[in-house]
Amino acid sequence: MPRWGMVIDLDKCFACQSCTAACRMENNTPVAGQDQAEMGRAILWNEVLPFVEGEYPNIVETMIPRPCMHCDNPACIKVCPVQATFKNEEGVVLVDYDRCIGCRLCTVACPYTVRYFNWYQPEWPEALKEHLNPEPEVKPRPKGVVEKCTFCTQRLRKAREEAEAAGRVFNATDYIPACVQTCTGHARYFGDLDDPNSLVSKLAHSPRAFRLFEELGTQPKVYYLKQG
């Protein structure tokens, strides 16, 4: 069983936000509109966040793309009262939209603020509505539930189905999430962290590798390669 993980090379990322856009098209996240976005209610499973260190004018700015960290010891799962959020056997943290009661304890518990709440019924302008991804995993979520990055779980299922149809064994390299596929700077790597020969596992062990808030013990499966 693979243990899916991601590595993002901050040297290669130039904050073009293609990943954010690709994620939205792949996962049908609703259009919030300007007023809602200003209130902090936009749903973006992936964001590129600016981190500024130092005082002006001596500042260092790092742009950090931030999907869900798919923690191995996730703060969100511990607190969910109905197990609406859970980790599957491949280490991917998912949400059951039909079970979530919308208590938002997971959203306040996640140290990475990556969980989004559906404040309203999701909406799209007509033109976009025609292009929604038809996969069942990403059908529009109801209002009142929590959602977040799934490492494009629908793509994994499809990759498995394709491998089966073609009569070959499924290989970890058959599947990558939309953000990894789109990344203009080739900054994102994806694969099986448990396979010592995989590129992600090698990169995750590089001296440049770090994880966000490692000290919290959440054991994220998203690694970053230090800038510079």
């Binding site: 009262p81 109905v82 009661i101 919308g102 208590c103 304890l105 306040v108 603020t113 559906n118 009142g144």
Partner: protein, 445 residues
């Protein structure tokens, strides 16, 4: 020998005198409650988007209300259970007035969680899929148990008085007589019954005392179990508990003073009672200050980066106005009032108690919101912000109106001073009547 209590007529008088004023009060409270209900239906249809909540402030005044109302509820249990266990006989006349606050604020505490949920109709998932790893389940269990045992405790100690109403209130409408008859469960006023009743109440009091500690600690763990700066401290449990008892006891002062004034109960609710409560309140305020200093000094001295972001926000940032008003106006001022003005002066005491309760609400708010506006990833980017929106205001007002409504209604149909517990003589008991008349076993000896 039947119950004799020389204050019986005074205590029963409010039940006989329901007037225009009452209907006006009930009516206006009902209007406020309906407005809140309307807001809730609106929110249910539209989604929680009509509130001021956002990301990262996923929780707002609903959760603040939850903590506050559960805290208020601790008044009754503190006065009647803890003081019963401690054998404090002076508490007898106030027990019911205090317990009624417990009983009528719990539904609004528990209800606030329901109001806050994105899918309240899925509440049964808690039973189908509930898992005890989650602090929400701890809360549901603890508050549920607390509600249930409060109802039983309250009802049991009300039983002899319902029977008394049934036997002695012959001039009330027929439906009311029937109500007393049904609710009295055939209570016969026999010495054996009193004996058993007091035994049960004593036993329950011990259980309720444990429950009171558990409940508010568990409420605080909703926050304390996360790793978020400002919340993740072991002190949060005792701090919440002490705050709860402080606001609860202050609420008792307010309720007693109102009852005494409106229902002319000066003889029964004498100044001595208020003076005893005053001493308790001074102790609790000092305890609260102690916790406040212990908590903030530990955080400030160690100065860990993300903790300091939250702390600075409270001390000198966005929330400094609320924070300092809360501490100075609402804790130091009441403390001074209680020490220098409060003795034998109910007016000053009520004023200070009102300040305390406003302060405790603010305190809950200030514990919850600043941590949310500065989660680790956000404070790098300037943080979030939150202001309650109209539906939240309406629903909050409705909750408070609901509490007052239930309380006011209750006091017009049932004796708010326990007649049997303050009686000079009970069937099968010898009694000493002075200075504060209580039943001998209710003192816990």
């Amino acid at each position: 020998m039947p119950i004799t209590n020389r204050h019986e007529q005074t205590i029963l008088a409010p039940i006989r005198r329901v007037g225009m004023g009452d209907y006006l009060l009930w009516g206006s409270l009902l209007v406020l409650m309906l407005a809140g209900l309307g807001a809730w239906i609106w929110q249910y249809i539209e989604g929680l988007g009509i509130t001021g909540m956002n990301r990262p402030v996923y929780w707002g005044v609903y959760i603040t209300n939850f903590v506050f109302f559960i805290g208020l509820a601790h008044s009754g249990t503190f006065i009647s259970a803890i003081l019963r266990v401690a054998g404090q006989s002076w508490r007898a006349p106030l027990t019911r007035a205090a317990e009624a606050i417990t009983l009528f604020s719990l539904p609004f505490g528990a209800g606030s969680i329901l109001i806050d949920m994105g899918h309240p109709e899925r509440i049964l998932n808690l039973i189908f899929y509930g898992r005890f790893q989650s602090p929400i389940m701890w809360d549901v269990t603890a508050v549920g148990l607390y509600m249930l045992s409060s109802i039983v405790f309250f009802y049991l100690s009300l039983l002899p008085d319902i029977a008394l109403c049934r036997d002695r209130l012959t001039d009330v409408p027929n439906w009311q007589k029937r109500m007393y008859k049904v609710l009295a469960l055939g209570w016969k006023d026999s010495p054996e019954q009193y004996h058993r009743l007091e035994k049960v109440l004593d036993g329950m009091a011990v259980f309720m005392t444990m429950l009171v500690v558990t409940v508010h600690t568990v409420v605080s763990w909703l926050f304390g179990m996360t790793v978020q700066p400002g919340w993740h401290t072991a002190l949060i449990g005792p701090f919440f508990l002490l705050g709860a008892i402080l606001s609860g006891t202050a609420a008792v002062v307010i309720a007693l003073a109102l009852l005494r004034k409106v229902y002319h109960l000066e003889e029964v609710l004498h100044n001595g009672l208020f003076n005893s409560l005053r001493k308790l309140l001074i102790t609790f305020i000092l305890g609260w200050l102690y916790m406040m200093i212990a908590e903030h000094l530990t955080i400030g001295y160690a100065s860990m980066h993300e903790e300091m972001v939250v702390l600075n926000d409270k001390f000198s940032g966005t929330y400094s106005l609320v924070f300092w008003n809360m501490t100075v106006l609402v804790f130091f001022v009441p403390l001074l009032i209680f020490i220098f003005k409060g003795k034998n002066n109910v007016g000053w005491m009520v004023f200070a108690s009102v300040l305390i309760n406003i302060g405790m609400w603010m305190e809950r708010y200030i514990v919850i919101i600043p941590t949310e506006t500065s989660p680790r990833l956000f404070h790098e980017m300037g943080g979030g912000s939150y202001l309650p929106a109209l539906p939240e205001v309406l629903i909050t007002i409705a909750c408070f109106a609901g509490l007052v409504f239930l309380y006011a209604l209750f006091t017009r149909f049932f004796p708010i001073i326990p007649i049997w517990e303050t009686a000079e003589s009970l069937p099968g008991h010898a009694h000493n009547a002075e200075p504060a008349p209580v039943s001998s076993t209710a003192t816990g000896d």
